[in-house]
Each structure stands twice: as C-alpha cells, then as structure tokens.
Symmetry: C2
C-alpha cells in the first residue's frame, strides 16, 4: 500500500532516500543570471546516481516493500530514466528488476539499466505495449508492478524540493520540466505547504503538449508527441499527477524544440555539466518570460544529464 503524496510523507521518504544517496547542490550561476535578469539557481539533479532525479523515487518505493515483495521481483516499463531509477533502486535493495522496453529502445539507456543488474525485456512496439507486457508479467509471477507516477515515487522525488527550499528559503519561482509529472507534483506539494507564494511553473515542449493542454483545460487530453526532449515526451497524460497539478501549478509554459536546443548549449557551456533536453527546457522557458522575473530568485530543476552523445555533438558544434 503506497503512501499518499503529501509533504509529511515526502519528509518521511527523504529519510529513505538519504540511506542511499546525498543531497545535490543548488548552485548560482552569474552568467545565466545576467541572461535572464534574475538570480538563476540550478538544482543539479544530474549529479545523482543514474544522472536523474527519478532515482529518489525508486529508492523510496523499493525501501518500503516487504522482503516477500522484494523476492518476488519488480516489474516496470520504461524507455529511459524511470527504468534506470528502478534498476538502481533494485540493486541497492538487493532485489531483481524486470524492465520492459519497446523494441528499438535507446541502447545506451538499456545498457545503463543492465549495468545495474536489471533484466531488460524487449516487448511491444511502443511504451504502452511494453507497459501492458510488464503488467501481465508481474501478475503471472506475483511480482510488484511499478507505474511511472506511483505516489511513493512522488514522495521520494520530493526530497529534492525540500533541498531547494532548505538551501534557498527565499526562492521565488521554481521551474520544472514535466514528463509523467512526478517532479512537478512533488515540488509543488512541498513549495505550497511551506510558502504558497513560491510560483510553480511547468514546462513541456510545444512538440509534445499533452500535459500542458490537460492542465490548462482541467481534463485529460492526448496530443502529438514528436519532441526531441525525451524527458518531457509525454503524449498521454496521467490523472493522478494532473489532479495535483490542477491544484498547485501556477503556470505551464510551452517552448519550441529549437529553443530547447539553444538553451541546452547555453547550459552546457556555462555550467560544464552534461544537461539533458528536458532540463534545458526550463531555461528556455525562463528566457521566454524573463520580464516577470526581474531580480527574483529562480530555481531551475536540472532533472537529468542523460543526453545522447549524438545530440550533444549536434548541439554544441
């Protein structure tokens, strides 16, 4: 039985998270601040194991399973960071993970899952088919099925939001890339509980606007999904994360893929960190509406660093 996503449960979850990882830095960058006309802080979730924020959720979820459940194995579907998170969490908790990926999945990410000891199964032509296969296998084997927006994942992820406010109590705005929505839900729950004036802004690509459209219209709307930014490439919204967003999110910005690419180059050059496209979308959003940020403290969530070498080459050349 998972815990509901609340600030109380996020605080509890953070104890589980820090058993297996340390807080990440929130760092001020003068060059980026000058470009936006505000105080720009980056939350370096790319410094995590697996190079993405999701590992916090995986660690928290798995830490709450019984020995029997752990022995039965974890089943999930993923094309990217979520699968790496569950693989890593399974490794540190000594249990077996079965990650279902669609045929043709990114070989680099599959290798990363396997290097953490997960069994990767190619099944289905897209994420939904892989997900159905994972669900069926979990039922056949009495295993634990993990969905991408499970509340225990949100609670674990919330530890990064606590860190932001701990390091910068005067934060005015937090901009979060939205994939399935666990990051922005966790961030908004923490921020609104501690200081409702903190403005929470979501970002998606205009080339994959399903979550933004669903938030704006307060109903689930599917949309085209052709963005190059894997971490925000969501074509089908999720009801549990949408409900939290309807309540807590102040603004939801769409940016064009070409703006993301430009921002990605800026961030890599200015920070000497590998930053993935979804994270770069937050800076592109900040540039787009910078007139509202004058002299404010803006935290941008660098959700991950898992950019492909080919895209990296294309962006910085």
């Amino acid at each position: 039985m998972q815990q509901k996503a609340t600030i109380k449960n996020i605080i509890k979850a953070s104890k589980n998270v820090y058993q297996h990882m340390s807080p990440t830095p929130l760092r001020h960058y003068q060059q980026l601040s000058d470009l936006i006309g505000a105080h720009v802080w980056l939350k370096h979730e790319n410094h995590n194991p697996t190079c993405a924020f999701k590992v916090r959720g995986g660690i928290n979820l798995v830490s709450q399973l019984s020995t029997q459940q752990k022995n039965a194995g974890l089943y999930t579907a993923s094309t990217g960071n979520h699968g790496q998170s569950i693989a890593y969490a399974a490794k540190v908790h000594n249990c077996k993970a079965f990650i279902y990926v669609p045929i043709g999945a990114n070989t680099g990410k599959v290798a990363a899952m396997e290097s953490n000891g997960a069994k990767v199964i190619y099944d289905g032509n897209n994420f939904d088919e892989a997900r159905a296969a994972a669900l069926m296998a979990s039922q056949e084997n009495n295993g634990v099925f993990i969905g991408p927006t499970d509340e225990d994942l949100i609670n674990g992820v919330g530890s990064y939001a606590l860190e932001i406010i701990n390091d910068l109590p005067d934060v005015d705005v937090i901009i979060v890339p939205v994939g399935a929505g666990s990051g922005i839900c966790a961030t908004s729950i923490v921020a609104k509980a501690i200081n409702p004036k903190i403005r929470i802004i979501g970002v998606q690509s205009a080339q994959a606007p399903a979550q933004q459209l669903s938030w704006f219209n307060q109903q689930l709307i599917e949309a085209d999904n052709t963005t190059i930014a894997e971490g925000v490439a969501t074509g089908v919204p999720f009801i549990n994360t949408q409900k939290i967003m309807w309540e807590n999110v102040d603004e939801f910005i769409l940016v064009e893929d070409h703006e993301i690419i430009k921002a990605n180059k800026t961030l890599i050059e200015a920070t000497h960190n590998l930053i993935e496209e979804a994270s770069a979308a937050t800076f592109a959003a900040a540039e787009k509406v910078k007139s509202q940020f004058k002299n404010k403290n803006i935290a941008l969530v660098m959700s991950g660093g898992n950019i492909s070498m080919q895209n990296l080459t294309n962006y910085i050349k």
Copy 2:
C-alpha cells in the same frame, strides 16, 4: 603563515572547506569496471563549484587569512582551474582577487573567473611572466600572493582524499592526475597515514613529462610541454610537491595524448558527466596497467570537468 601539509592539518582544513561546499560522490561504474577488470570508482571532483578539486584548497587558504589580509586583496597567476578556485574562494570570503593571466588565455576560463567577481589582468606571454607580474603587484599593494602549490592549498585539497577513504575504506589504489602536484600530495599524505598499503599512482601526459621525470630521478627536471591536457600541462616542476611525491608516490605513469582522448570519450559516455582531459588520463593509465589491478578497488580522481566545447566536440563525434 601557512600550515605544513600533514594529515592533521588536512583534517583541520576540511572543517573550513565544508563551510562552503559539500563532499562529492565516489561512484562505482560497472561499465568501466568491466573494461579494467577491477572495481572502478570515480571521485567526482567535477561536481564541485568551479567544476574542479582546486576550489577546496582556495577555500581553505582564504579562510585562514586575517581581515587585514583579506582587505589587501589576493594576487595569483593562473591559466585555468587554480584561478577559478581563488576567484571563488575570494567571493565566498568577501574579498578581492586579482588573477594574472598570460595574453591569449582561454576566454572561457577568464569569463568564469570574472563571473565570480575576480579582476583578471592580462600580463606576460606565458605563465611564468604572468606569475612574476602577480608577485610584483602583490608586493606593491601589500597584498597576499598565492602560489599554485602553497601548503594551505594542499591541506584543503586533502579533504577529497579523506572522503575517498571514508566512502571506501577498502580502496587498494588511487590514481591521480599530476599538474602542479597539490592533488597527489594531499592524496598520498592521507592515504599513507591511514593505510600505507594503498597504492598511489600519479599520471602525466607523455607530451608533458616534467613531473614524472623529476619524480623518477629525484631531482627537478624541466621538459617539453605540448600536451592537450591542460590540467597536467606542467613543464617546470615544483620542489615542495616533488619532495612529498618522492616520499609517498608508488608509481608514476605516462600516457599518450591520443590515449587520453580515447579515455575521455569513454568516461563521458559511460558516466554522463563532463570530464576534462587531465581526469581522463587516470583512466588511460588504468587501462595501460590493468593487469596489476585484477578485482581490486581502484579510485580514479576526476579532478575537473572544464573541457572546452571545441575539444568535447572533437572527442565524442
């Protein structure tokens, strides 16, 4: 009056360091371990502010200055990470830094120094001339001159070595890139005090072997300096760091620039971290002598992440 570099003073210095930064992760990578046939751990000094280990030394040195000294200003010469370290340390301690750089210095690094509030002065055609100008200016202004191998820098840097052994008490080998020598001196002082069996290996490029030649022959020897790896590009050795190396360092490996470039690509792809050439030299060295490491715990010091965008593009394409 600076403190001598000893494990006791390194432990003291770590208190100063953690006033302004957090420990960095030591992380195990299965893919790299498979390549070497050992347990390979990377010490992520690229996660530091300024993206390099040297910031620890700068913070420690400046924290011990009197108010009068801080008000007089800090003077140093640098073409890279050392200057960024002193600029950052000056910023967090609210004092002024004057960094002398040779004409034609790397504009990206100069920008990074300036973004931390340092005054950068172009003076001289090479590092030695810039250093002479900095020394003269410090004397004219009664300022504090900081050399690249000052013992208070070594003491601050040693905090990363304490972290390695704290996180992995069973470490067998630590491989450190050698520039001026503060990193390997600090590492070897800590390791030999705690467990003399820990093997300390230095690395330089065969295209800049002055420190290796001086260590091997136990006398100061200058050498050609044409390597692409800025962080280990030392043509003139330093007597104080050599003396510590003569006592503590077990082995000193030279690797070719083309091996560094190949290793750099491997590290960036496997870790999704930006890694600079000097750090990559440690992996190239591990590959070279991997037969001696079977199943051992090998820690490689990722001294920094300040690779130029142009080199990055060339390496990963």
